[in-house]
């Protein structure tokens, strides 16, 4: 997948296809892309058939900090080169997966995927933030009971990590819309 054709291979193929000498085809290909470069320098925008659009995009000045040394550095404003393949080429490249379509996620799937991702987070968060626990307990004193009453046919024994996650989700929901009588997020 990640293989790359060298310039030599491209040359061989090109000279075989056109019947020109290698020296000529080498000069030709170099000329093509040198002209693109020239066009970029002149108009900042090169729109060519068969490939797509080459553009210069302005990047504003910004400061970066080296996290190891703590020093700040200033990157001056500059242009960067952006390439957008034309539509036909984009579709051609993606032809292998062209018949794949986006699928709407059902509720069950949604919770399944979020559980997976948040289960990973859970591990790191648990270690990282133990001092938050008392707040969680104080706040969720009523809510779990509500959830139990409103949704009786819950699976009997969710793993311990899951309960905590549910509480956290509840807290998040409450923060966003405090008056709401939101349903239990895990159900």
């Amino acid at each position: 997948m990640a293989s790359k054709i060298t310039f030599q291979e491209l040359l061989d193929e090109f000279s075989a296809a056109t019947g020109h000498t290698k020296a000529f085809s080498k000069k030709f290909i170099k000329d093509v892309f040198a002209s693109v470069q020239e066009g970029l320098r002149k108009d900042e925008n090169v729109n060519i058939k068969g490939l797509g659009i080459f553009k210069l995009q302005e990047v504003g000045e910004r400061e970066i900090m080296n996290p190891q040394t703590g020093k700040t550095n200033r990157i001056p404003a500059h242009n960067k080169i952006v390439f957008k393949p034309e539509k036909a080429l984009r579709e051609r490249v993606n032809s292998k997966y062209a018949d794949l379509k986006s699928t709407p996620l059902k509720k069950e799937e949604k919770s399944a995927t979020t559980e997976k991702s948040s289960a990973k987070k859970e591990l790191s968060e648990e270690k990282a933030a133990p001092p938050k626990k008392p707040v969680v307990f104080g706040d969720t004193g009523k809510k779990p009971a509500e959830g139990k009453t409103s949704v009786p046919p819950l699976p009997p024994s969710p793993p311990p990590g899951e309960k905590k996650k549910c509480r956290r989700l509840l807290l998040k929901k409450r923060k966003r819309n405090p008056p709401g009588a939101g349903s239990f997020p895990c159900s």
Partner: protein, 90 residues
Amino acid sequence: MNTSDLLQYISEKSEISKTESKELYETLTAIMQGHFDNGSGVFIPKFGSFQVNEKTERRSFNPASKEHVMLPKKLTLNFTPVSQLKEDLK
């Protein structure tokens, strides 16, 4: 700059007729596209490399309809300029 401007440039540089330069240019892009079809990239010295990358599937949310959607994986064509070109157009 568009395709005809480019062909003008090329024919001046390589000292060939415009029609000939057009033919050659089209075969060049056809060859490159053939490689992109196979998923392999093309490197061009003093310019940059074109490479096909695979993007994994991802979840997405449409805020207007409030729908969660799983977008499928796809192949994209990317271009990375060589540092020489980057410096030149800075």
